[in-house]
C-alpha cells in the first residue's frame, strides 16, 4: 500500500445523526496507519469543535472530546474554514483544539493536493 494524502472533509453538525462521530472514528483509525491524513472542518462541521458541549445531556459521547483526541492519534494537520467560523460568529478560542484557519483559496489548494477526499 502506498502512502497517500487523504483529506477528511467534515461538514455535518454533531448529534442529530451518527455521521460526525462515525467520521471521527474513521479518522482516528486512519491516523495510526502510515498515511498523510488531514482534516478540514467547514460549514456546520465547525460546530463539532465548539467548546462546552455536553453529549451526556443526550446520553451520548461528547463529540468535542472525540475531536480533541485527533492529535493523540497522529492526526496533526487539522484545518478549519475561516468563512464558516465567521458566518457562525465563532473564533478560534471557541474551539476545543488548535486548528489552522484556512481561507477558501487555501482550502482549494489543500483539496487539489489530495489523493482522496472522504466526506462525512
Amino acid at each position: 500500500m502506498e502512502i497517500r494524502r487523504i483529506l477528511y472533509m467534515l461538514r455535518q453538525p454533531p448529534y442529530a445523526t451518527g455521521h460526525a462521530v462515525e467520521a471521527l472514528e474513521s479518522i482516528l483509525v486512519a491516523g495510526v496507519f502510515d498515511q498523510q491524513v488531514s482534516v478540514l472542518f467547514r460549514d456546520d462541521g465547525v460546530w463539532q469543535l465548539l467548546k462546552g458541549q455536553n453529549g451526556g445531556a443526550l446520553g451520548v459521547r461528547t463529540i468535542g472530546n472525540v475531536a480533541q483526541a485527533l492529535p493523540e492519534y497522529e492526526v496533526k494537520d487539522i484545518y478549519v474554514c475561516a468563512e464558516s467560523l465567521a458566518q457562525r460568529g465563532l473564533v478560534v478560542d471557541d474551539l476545543v483544539l488548535t486548528a489552522k484557519v484556512l481561507s477558501q483559496r487555501e482550502q482549494l489548494t489543500l483539496i487539489s493536493a489530495q489523493h482522496a477526499v472522504v466526506n462525512d
Binding site: 461538514r11 467547514r42 460549514d43 477558501q104 483539496i111 487539489s112 489523493h115 482522496a116 477526499v117 466526506n119
Partner: protein
C-alpha cells in the same frame, strides 16, 4: 490534476463553489440535479447525470451551461480528475 466535485444535494452547490478551482469539473447527481435548473457556472464545466435528470423530468429544464452525461462519462470524468470530492 484538477478536482471533480460531485454534488448530490442542490443546496450543497454554494459550499462547493466556494472552494472549486477554475479548472475543476462539477457534476450534479441525485437531488443535486435540481441545481441545474437555476445554476449558472460560467468558466467551469457543469455536468448532470442523465439517469437522475431523466428520472426527475428535468430534460428540458436544465440551463444551457449544463451538459448531461451518462454513467460511463461519469467514470471517464473520474479518470480525468483527482481527487473526487462529494458534497451533500
Amino acid at each position: 490534476m484538477s478536482t471533480l466535485h460531485v454534488i448530490n444535494k442542490a443546496n450543497a452547490l454554494p459550499a462547493c463553489l466556494s472552494v472549486a478551482g477554475a479548472h475543476d469539473a462539477l457534476l450534479l447527481i441525485e437531488d443535486g440535479v435540481y441545481a441545474g435548473t437555476t445554476a449558472r457556472s460560467p468558466q467551469r464545466p457543469l455536468y448532470a447525470l442523465a439517469a437522475d435528470v431523466d428520472a426527475r423530468g428535468l430534460n428540458e429544464r436544465l440551463g444551457p451551461s449544463v451538459t448531461v452525461i451518462s454513467d460511463a462519462e461519469f467514470v471517464q470524468l473520474a479518470v480525468d480528475h483527482q481527487p473526487i470530492v462529494s458534497w451533500r
